[in-house]
């Protein structure tokens, strides 16, 4: 099973160096949304203005299970934006850990004496696949699967679409917008909340 947050993580980082293509705050929000999105796609969480747990059955994936447990631990449903802000604090490390456990990433210390870690793809080609695939599908107007559109939604919300469709004609952008606008409603609402959170992160930046 392909996990949304894993794919988005690979998408948002260079397949060669592992460097992020996004501002750290935006990346964190995108990954947080992807973690929620995994549960939405499993029909276990519904997205309105708040996140509501529909089904408490334990997901197979350990990380999805933990996130669901955290959602269920709150006595009252909290707004989507609150959850995005909360999950954004830990999303990067958690998703990177999951990809590392699966053998897809190798943590590398950037410099000696530095604690900053970069996660470098174990297999460059494999890491480049989701990005290349979505890009080609949009450029050529091929049919998009549900998983593709979920990813496309997060790509639009975080502003990655510009580099994804760099040099593509207007029609490719239109296809992207068209597909995302017809996303399954709970997923679409998640995408919209993410996009709003990303915009607010820019607006409320302190200088």
């Amino acid at each position: 099973m392909v996990m949304l947050a894993d794919v988005f993580f690979q998408f948002a980082h260079s397949d060669v160096t592992g460097r992020s293509r996004l501002n750290s705050r935006v990346l964190a929000l995108g990954l947080a949304a992807a973690l929620v999105g995994e549960l939405v796609s499993l029909h276990q969480v519904d997205v309105g203005d708040e996140l509501r747990v529909l089904h408490g059955r334990a997901p197979r994936d350990a990380l999805a299970h933990t996130v669901l447990a955290e959602l269920m631990a709150e006595p009252r449903p909290l707004p989507v934006r609150t959850w995005l802000a909360y999950l954004a604090e830990s999303a990067h490390v958690r998703v990177a850990d999951r990809l590392t456990r699966g053998g897809h990433l190798t943590p590398q210390r950037q410099r000696r004496l530095s604690r900053a870690v970069t996660y470098v793809p174990t297999d460059m080609n494999a890491a480049a696949v989701p990005r290349a695939l979505l890009s080609q599908k949009l450029r050529r107007g091929l049919e998009l699967e549900y998983d593709d559109v979920c990813l496309a939604g997060l790509v639009v919300a975080t502003g990655l679409d510009v580099s994804l469709l760099d040099g593509a004609d207007r029609a490719a952008f239109d296809r992207l917008q068209w597909a995302v606008a017809r996303l399954w409603p709970p997923m679409l609402r998640l995408v919209e909340h993410t996009q709003a959170a990303v915009g607010d992160a820019v607006l409320s930046h302190r200088t």
Partner: protein, 498 residues
């Protein structure tokens, strides 16, 4: 158990939240006290020849405190709106909102041009006085412009601690200067004359209020941080009132200290002779060169910080309008560093053009950029505040709309603010020539306020065009980044599966 569990999300989020002090710091740093005291106040004395500047500052402090009551009350009910125009859009309708947005962009953009030009003038003067080096003001202004343009696009974080230290130093040195000046009154005793409210009835009295309002611009950004504060319901109001009170007290005292030192009758001539050096010249005999040098340096950092703050405000407005698609969507894109790139570049280009124009027209940077443009920008903000107050009254008006706010906050205070601010705006238009220090027949007195009218009208018309042609965009006006939560996607031809 439930309490402990609920603390999990809340506690994690609370760790990075801002307290009252942090918000006040950000806001007052943008207002840049030394820019106002050494720059705006001295130039106001020399240009307007009006003696009641201190009482103008006190009056504006009171007006803003009343304005803030309704403003922060509405901020509690509009989630992360954080800009005047979203309040206006919500209260007075979307066309008024777009008009307000464009007026705001123009007003803040003028402020930046004025401050960058002012930086050039002051840096050139200080280099001449302190080091004997002669560098033309446009060169200094260009350097300032370049650094702001650079920081605006790269969004390099200026260290919060550095800003805090600079701000405290600014306030500290202003207080020292005030104490020295008030302790050595020019006529042998302190003259309370400049504090007499009757001054406001004199010619130029109303215009002086606008100059004072311009000095406070920036305090309204407290609400931008609402979502990041520990307790938005309390933190934002407290920070707003505190910022107004601190700056108001400081400005009024400093504005009073100058005529106290020169003698009330001598202030106009002294200000015209020394310009922005007036305060430094007056304290030099008592404090010595070191204190003056420190003051000079802080004056420059203050001008720069204020210029950068307004640059970012403009870029942020353009970004929000781009997110709503009121402006082209490209404005709503951020760079990898999180900077609203296109808005920032646009504002830099406009500032450069304006500076170039000032050079071509042989403008006096201290008077015609630093004073005129910031005051005209302040007039634009005055219009925005009047519209915002009216919007607050409408927002809370009607059965079931009180939303738990008191009568004072939702009706009386914003009602008073609307009337007073509108009256000041009308009075200002009548006295605009005094504000600018030009002849009564000068066309400039109509051009500046008239420009805001044209800008507002074009915003209004643009909103009506959007309502006809792009209703989905029209409906998102005023939502800022949250416009994304209503579908604003443009539908493309049905060819995705072609």
């Amino acid at each position: 158990v439930a309490v402990q569990k609920q603390g999990n999300v809340a506690a994690t989020l609370a760790r990075n939240r801002l307290g009252v002090a942090s918000v006040v710091f950000f806001v007052v740093a943008a207002a840049a006290p030394l820019t106002v005291i050494a720059g705006a106040v001295t130039t106001a004395y020399s240009v307007t020849g009006f003696g009641g500047i201190p009482v103008a500052y006190l009056t504006v402090t009171a007006i803003l405190a009343v304005f803030a009551a309704g403003f922060v009350a509405m901020a509690r009910h509009l989630v992360n709106a954080g800009a005047f125009y979203s309040y206006v859009a919500r209260g007075l309708g979307r066309p008024a909102g777009v008009a307000a947005a464009l007026v705001a962009v123009a007003a803040y953009a003028l402020m930046e041009v004025g401050l960058v030009g002012g930086f050039g003038a002051v840096a050139s003067l200080i280099l001449h006085v302190a080091a004997g080096v002669d560098i033309a003001w446009p060169v200094c202004a260009l350097a300032c412009w370049a650094v702001i343009a650079f920081l605006g696009v790269l969004r390099v974080d200026l260290n919060g601690r550095v800003l805090a230290v600079l701000l405290l130093a600014e306030i500290g040195i202003a207080v020292v200067y005030d104490v020295v000046l008030l302790g050595h009154p020019g006529q042998g005793r302190l003259d309370l004359g400049p504090l007499w409210p009757g001054h406001l009835a004199e010619p130029g009295g109303i215009a002086a209020l606008v100059g004072a309002i311009a000095s406070f611009v920036g305090f309204e950004s407290t609400v931008v941080f609402a979502e990041e504060t520990k307790d938005p319901r309390r933190t934002v109001p407290r920070a707003t009132y505190l910022a107004i009170a601190i700056t108001g007290a400081l400005y009024a005292t400093s504005a009073w200290a100058l005529p106290a030192a020169t003698g009330t009758s001598g202030i106009h001539a002294a200000a015209q002779a020394s310009g922005t050096e007036l305060m430094f010249n007056l304290v030099l005999p008592y404090l010595g060169q070191t204190f003056v040098d420190a003051g000079h340096l802080l004056f420059l950092t203050s001008l720069f910080a204020a210029g950068l703050a307004f640059h970012n405000i403009v870029a942020r407005y353009l970004f929000a309008l781009g997110r709503e698609r009121v402006l082209p969507g490209r404005f709503g894109r951020a760079s990898r560093s999180g900077a609203p790139t296109l808005g920032s570049l646009t504002q830099s280009a406009v500032t450069l053009l304006a500076l170039g124009l000032a050079v071509v027209l042989h403008a006096d940077p201290a008077v015609q950029l630093l004073f005129w443009l910031t005051v005209v920008g302040g007039f634009g903000v005055l219009l925005l505040m009047a519209a915002t107050s009216a919007a607050v009254v409408v927002f809370f008006h009607g059965p079931g709309q009180a939303r738990g706010e008191t009568w004072w906050r939702r009706a009386i205070a914003p009602g008073i603010a609307t009337l007073v601010l509108t009256a000041v705006a009308i009075g200002t238009v009548a006295q605009f020539h005094i504000l600018l220090g030009v002849e009564e027949t000068s066309p400039l007195r109509w051009i500046f306020p008239g420009a805001f009218g044209v800008i507002a009208l074009s915003g209004f018309v643009w909103a009506l065009v959007l309502r006809r042609k792009r209703p989905h965009i029209y409906h998102a006006v005023g939502l800022g980044a949250n416009s994304m939560t209503t579908p604003t996607w443009e539908t493309a031809p049905d060819r995705v599966r072609a």
